[in-house]
Structures are given as C-alpha cells and as structure tokens.
C-alpha cells in the first residue's frame, strides 16, 4: 500500500498552460504539504494544510492554488505555467496534532517540465 501517492509522476507541458497535480495519503494524518525541489535539490515548502485548513502559505506566486477537498487529499493547480516552474513537486503528510508529531512522509514526486 502506497502511503502518500501523487499523480502524475511526470508532467511535460508548454508555457501558458494550466495543470494539476493530485496527492492522496492513506496514513490518517491531519496535515499535508506541497514542497518544491529545484534542480539543485533545494527543498522549499510551498503550502501546508491541517484538516483542510491552509496553515502555511509561503511566498508562492498566486498562479499556484492548493485545494484540499478532505484531509486525505491535497491537490495543486498551477495556472499560466512558466519555465521557472520546472521542478520536482513533492507532496507530504504528517500527524501534527499530538505532542510528538510524526515525521513527514513523502510521495515519490512529480517532475514538471515546462517547455
């Protein structure tokens, strides 16, 4: 059973297009995240949702819009894609609402290439 699954694994698209990445976790965690990893492997948090409520919204262009229909799903929609959006996007989840929260569990990533 895959704990955190995200689709698609690869996404190649042209500038100006709109695309979505989906993420689902079956761990029962209360918090989900989107991270961006650039070509130098630098990890940057983009968003975090706790029980469907947006908790963290880093300095991310408003072309990026997360949506959490329920606490097991966190999707990422990107409008008007730009070349600089090319990166690997990771979904992750954790249980935060306890004294000793669980570590992050990551999906396998979506490699987005904008041409």
């Amino acid at each position: 059973d895959t704990a955190v699954s995200q689709t698609p694994k690869y996404l190649v698209t042209q500038m100006g297009n709109d695309k979505s990445i989906k993420c689902e976790q079956n761990l029962g965690h209360d918090t989900m995240y989107w991270y961006k990893q650039d070509s130098k492997k630098f990890l940057k948090i983009m968003f975090s949702y706790n029980n469907k409520e947006l908790i963290i919204n880093e300095t991310v262009p408003n072309r990026f819009s997360p949506k959490s229909p329920d606490k097991a799903h966190l999707n990422l929609h990107i409008n008007s894609l730009e070349l600089g959006d090319s990166a690997v996007y990771f979904c992750a989840s954790s249980q935060v609402g306890s004294r000793a929260s669980s570590p992050l569990h990551f999906g396998n990533g979506t490699r987005l290439t904008v041409t």
Binding site: K40, K41, L43, A92, V96, A100, S101, L104, N108
Partner: protein, 115 residues
C-alpha cells in the same frame, strides 16, 4: 534566524568504508533534528530523528546520528557503506516535536559509492 548547514555538497566513499555526513544547525532552543534520504527518482524517507533523551540515535538501514549540543551538530554515520546507500541526504530541524510543519532544511549532501 534558524538555519541548517550541511558543509559537504558531495562525498564519495568506497563500498565498505565508514561514512560521516555533517550537519550543523543554528537554533536558540532545543532543536528537533531529522535526517532524510532521497534515492534517485524517489521521495524523501526518514532515516532517524532526535527529539530528546539519548543523544546517540539509531535509524534504519544501519545509520546512526549523534546530537552534540556543544557543537550544534547532528552528524550522520554508518560503519560500512553499501552501494545502495548512494543517494542524497538531507538534515532538517523543527522547532518542537509537536510542530514539524515548517522544517528548516539543509541543502543536502550527495553521496556516491565506489565499488
């Protein structure tokens, strides 16, 4: 400001040799420390974590790490490296055990293993 430094961008070791990956942090209070590994094309997987107690923590895949408050370090070690350990290794710091929503990440150390 809190920060995590991984001084070595890239390390190459021979299979069977010992390994130490360095991690230094800058944080005013007691940190909560993590090491994650990212195999090629995969998401990040937790190797080990330190929250409190024994400063030498054991992780998966034969890894261990030692928390040294006086040196602000949390170095990762393995006595004998296997070829499958070739991967990217990330050190991260959280403010407290109950809130790992906003981890501070190092830039990673890329490990290559020679046969």
């Amino acid at each position: 400001a809190q920060s995590v430094t991984q001084p070595d961008i890239h390390i190459t070791v021979s299979e069977g040799a010992s390994l130490e990956l360095r991690c230094n942090y800058s944080y005013g209070a007691t940190p909560y420390l993590f090491w994650y590994v990212q195999s090629p094309g995969q998401g990040l997987q937790l190797l080990l974590k330190y929250f409190s107690g024994d400063t030498l923590v054991q992780g998966i895949k034969g890894f261990e790490a030692e928390f040294k408050r006086s040196q602000s370090s949390f170095n990762l070690r393995k006595p004998s490296v296997h070829w499958s350990d070739a991967a990217e290794y990330f050190c991260a710091v959280a403010r407290d055990a109950g809130n790992n929503r906003k981890l501070i990440w190092g830039l990673g150390t890329s490990l290559a293993v020679n046969p």
